[in-house]
Amino acid sequence: MIKEFNMLITGVGGQGVILMSELLGKSAVKEGLKIRGSEILGMAVRGGSVTSVIRIGDEVYGPLIPMGKCDTLIGMEPSEALRNIAFLSKSSLVILNTAIIVPFTVSLGQSQYPRLEVILDKLNSASSQIIKLDANHLAREAGSLLTANIVMLGALFGTELLPIKMATIKETIQARFPAKAVPVNFKAFDLGYQACRQALK
């Protein structure tokens, strides 16, 4: 029996949050796992907050994670991770891309972006551990900023908490991208994976 495992991927429209959940979902199905989830987004995706819910387990029914029941939160953007703090518990793991995206309302003087330390403090007190990485930097190192989501996916696998084999997710990535984009994505995945292993040492 597969135990309930709840993940939230949070970020900003355009960061590839939905794609991450697609890759995870397809891989989970290949492994014979039961999977439930949902996309939570507002009116126009672009620039707004986006959350994707992924739940694995034999006794998972609903498409949403109850508050306080998220096992792993994958934050593509610090303030968006903080926005979902109520889903965390003291046993949750947070994997955080530390690269911030400041919304235009801050330039307009309508809101403020908190200091990164404040975000980290809050998330720290609400979870068991934060794995921090600059996924944007690693993505550029891999060859394209667009692969920051794949870096984060690699980091998620670096936790070795998922009941999905590395070979399976790589197979899914390979099938999803045009052949010439595969090496960049694999590199991004590996960089994220290593960064996470390093952080966990």
């Binding site: 900003v12 429209g13 959940s21 697609e22 979902g25 397809k26 989970a28 199905v29 796992l33 039961k34 999977i35 439930r36 989830g37 949902s38 996309e39 939570i40 987004l41 507002g42 009116m43 126009a44 995706v45 672009r46 620039g47 707004g48 907050s49 992924i54 998972v60 029914y61 609903g62 498409p63 949403l64 109850p66 508050m67 306080g68 029941k69 303030s79 968006e80 903080l82 926005r83 703090i85 109520a86 518990s89 400041v102 919304p103 235009f104 309302t105 801050v106 330039s107 307009l108 309508q110 809101s111 403020q112 972006y113 908190p114 404040v118 975000i119 809050k122 609400a126 900023l145 099938a175």
Partner: protein, 634 residues
């Protein structure tokens, strides 16, 4: 190995899909031959999925001009013996309401299914409407899925049930079904393709008063038969617990939350559960059995107390005295969740949730003030930003002639451009429904003295903008009607429409020009502008507002998302703009404060343009008083 897709005839295989893809798959399995829709979140992906396999599977798929037409297209196919469906969002059902109420008298020959996608919490809608009331009004049975798998299964079954009972069926989806993701087990695909034949039968199809009077009782008879059947449909399931004092009646998706809640609270042996898959008509026998077996009932459903009221009616009818809870404990606004259902069941079972929700609520509230506001915004390079800016500039100028304190009024509509309500544009004064901008403008013209400039998108114009435009001409409403033509139904995912020259399946067709329609409707002032030529656009809009009588402006610029996509395909480079810091007056901020473009931000006191976001539209360069914004040339 061939990759599994939504059209694979591979019964028993598992596929990871979006809820709306599952709904499309159900229709495919049922052998649907005609599918029509107007795009609307959260329903759009259903028809998009069908359009993608239309040629391969020989299905006629169309984007109709509006939901009424879409439903009529499906109804006609059904009358001719062909399996057909129409899909729409909840408010779309209002547009189709007129034919729906008579279609239920007609019933169905070929299986006829209406898919309504409700949007609790109004994630991308103007209201949270419970369409089950509309179905009830028309004696239309409803199937309401509890999961993505069931959405597929119900969709396939709905066609069979519709044919068996010769009656129209509705499948009610909600955002958290249509936009849920799950693995599903595929069923067999029906390859049956029928040739439609029209049988002339006025006593069936011509709704004169006499025919209506004759056919209403027949419709009710069919409905009574369906009422008996729902008691044994697998979608309704009663599970009685031995020691139960509480009975939970959970409708549709709420069933998944109820199951988790009961398990989470560890009260499985103390709570009986009735799963409802047909909120209308309810399985009365099952409801009665549950009512008789417990001391208290909790009805769990999203949005309005639809099932709750019917359960109360059954209790009264059967003379059962039992306390029935529902919306007193479960919110009537917004989406439900396992947490909300857990709280309600905990109260009625004297059990304690393993998680302290109050604590988490407090944490959320404490955190909220720290978070930056990240509303959805018009994209960088969006032509609507330029159009709305030009409208405001021109109308403010004209308003001064009306009097010192006169403000122009901007009735708006449904589409991306309603984001123009936010600062700094603030160019939307009303948003009610599709086409409502022109309709409201008509009314305003007869009661207020101010420039009235209404705007709506191209797809919205074809959907519901033409009758109020004609009304303005006929009734001499002195208004300016601007069509923001970006050649796409952008908000819902860039679907084609009559102004694009392409059909749902990508075939070329006649391209209708909005300016031609406006002229044909008798509008005497019709001009086409390019919003990216701000000066000329503003001058032309000013002339339109000053024109005595209804005037039409077509503001035409391709949606920037599509344009960027096409540029990438053509390997054409985008030349972004940058701020010449030597010329920029850091105290000015006009570009930021007037346009609100996400690409323009302040960094360390300097105004900068994010070159990764800038599409090179150049609007900011046109308004910069210091000519400090210039093209970035290598």
């Amino acid at each position: 190995m061939k990759q599994l897709t939504i059209s694979s005839d591979a019964p028993g295989e598992r596929l990871f899909v979006l809820g709306n893809e599952a709904i499309a798959r159900g229709a495919i399995e049922a052998g649907v031959q005609v599918a029509a829709a107007y795009p609307g979140t959260p329903s759009s992906e259903i028809l998009e999925t069908l359009a993608g396999v239309a040629k391969e599977l020989d299905i006629y798929v169309e984007w109709s001009t509006n939901e009424k037409v879409a439903f009529e297209v499906a109804l006609a196919a059904s009358i001719c013996g062909v399996r057909a469906m129409a899909c729409m969002k909840h408010v779309g059902v209002n547009v189709a309401h007129d034919p729906l109420m008579t279609a239920s008298y007609i019933g169905a020959k070929g299986g006829l299914v209406l898919l309504s996608a409700d949007d609790p919490w109004a994630w991308s809608s103007q209201n949270e409407q419970d369409t089950r009331y509309i179905a009830e009004q028309g004696y239309i049975p409803i199937l309401e899925p509890s999961s993505v798998q069931e959405a597929k299964d119900m969709m396939a079954d709905a066609f069979k049930l519709s044919e068996e009972f010769r009656h129209l069926f509705m499948v009610r989806s909600v955002t958290r079904v249509g936009h849920a993701r799950s693995d599903i087990v595929l069923g067999e695909i029906s390859r049956e393709r029928r040739k439609g034949s029209f049988e002339k039968d006025p006593s069936w199809l011509v709704y004169t008063p006499a025919v209506a009077r004759r056919n209403k009782p027949l419709m009710i008879e069919r409905f009574e038969e369906i009422k008996k059947r729902v008691n044994i449909l697998p979608y309704n399931q009663l599970r009685l617990a031995d020691r139960a004092r509480l009975g939970v009646i959970a409708c549709g998706l709420s069933y998944s939350y109820a199951l988790e809640a009961v398990k989470w609270l560890g009260v499985e042996d103390r709570v009986s559960i009735l799963k409802i898959g047909t909120p209308h008509p309810l399985p009365e026998e099952l409801v009665t059995r549950l009512l008789k077996s417990v001391g208290e009932i909790l009805v769990v459903e999203e949005l309005d107390p639809f099932v709750e009221l019917h359960v109360k009616a059954i209790a009264q009818e059967e003379g059962i005295l039992v306390k029935i809870h529902g919306k007193d404990l479960v919110p009537v606004v917004g989406e439900l969740s396992t947490a909300k259902v857990t709280e309600a069941i905990a109260r009625l079972t004297d059990s304690k949730p393993p998680v302290d929700f109050a604590e988490l609520d407090k944490l959320e509230q404490e955190t909220a003030p720290l978070l930056p506001w990240r509303p959805p915004a018009l994209c960088p390079g969006c032509s609507h930003r330029a159009s709305l800016y030009a409208i405001k500039t021109a109308s403010k100028k004209v308003a001064r002639d009306y009097g010192k304190d006169v403000e122009p009024i901007y009735p708006g509509d449904i589409g991306c451009y309603c984001l123009g309500v936010n600062p700094p544009l603030e160019a939307v004064d009303t948003t009610v429904c599709m086409g409502g901008s022109f309709g409201i403008a008509n009314g305003l013209a007869h009661v207020v003295e101010a420039p009235i400039i209404a705007h709506l998108g191209d797809s919205t114009f074809f959907h519901a903008g033409i009758p109020p435009l004609i009304n303005a001409v006929y009734n001499k409403a002195n208004i300016t009607m601007v069509i923001l033509d970006n050649s796409a139904t952008a908000m819902t995912g860039f679907q084609p429409h009559p102004g694009t020259g392409y059909t749902a399946i990508g075939d070329e067709t006649i391209l209708l020009k909005i300016e031609d329609i406006a002229r044909a409707c008798g509008v005497k002032f019709v001009e086409v502008i390019d919003p990216f030529d701000l000066k000329k656009a503003t001058d032309t809009i000013e002339k339109a507002i000053r024109f005595d009588g209804p005037a039409v402006i077509v503001s035409r610029r391709l949606c920037t998302v599509i344009e960027q996509r096409e540029k990438r395909k053509r390997k054409e480079k985008v030349i972004p703009y940058l701020v010449d810091q030597d010329k920029c007056n850091i105290k000015c901020d006009a570009c930021i404060e007037l346009l609100g473009c996400p690409a323009i931000t302040k960094q360390d006191g300097k105004t900068i343009i994010d070159s990764s976001l800038c599409t090179g539209c150049g609007i900011c360069a046109q308004i910069c008083p210091y000519k400090a914004i210039i093209e970035e040339r290598e």
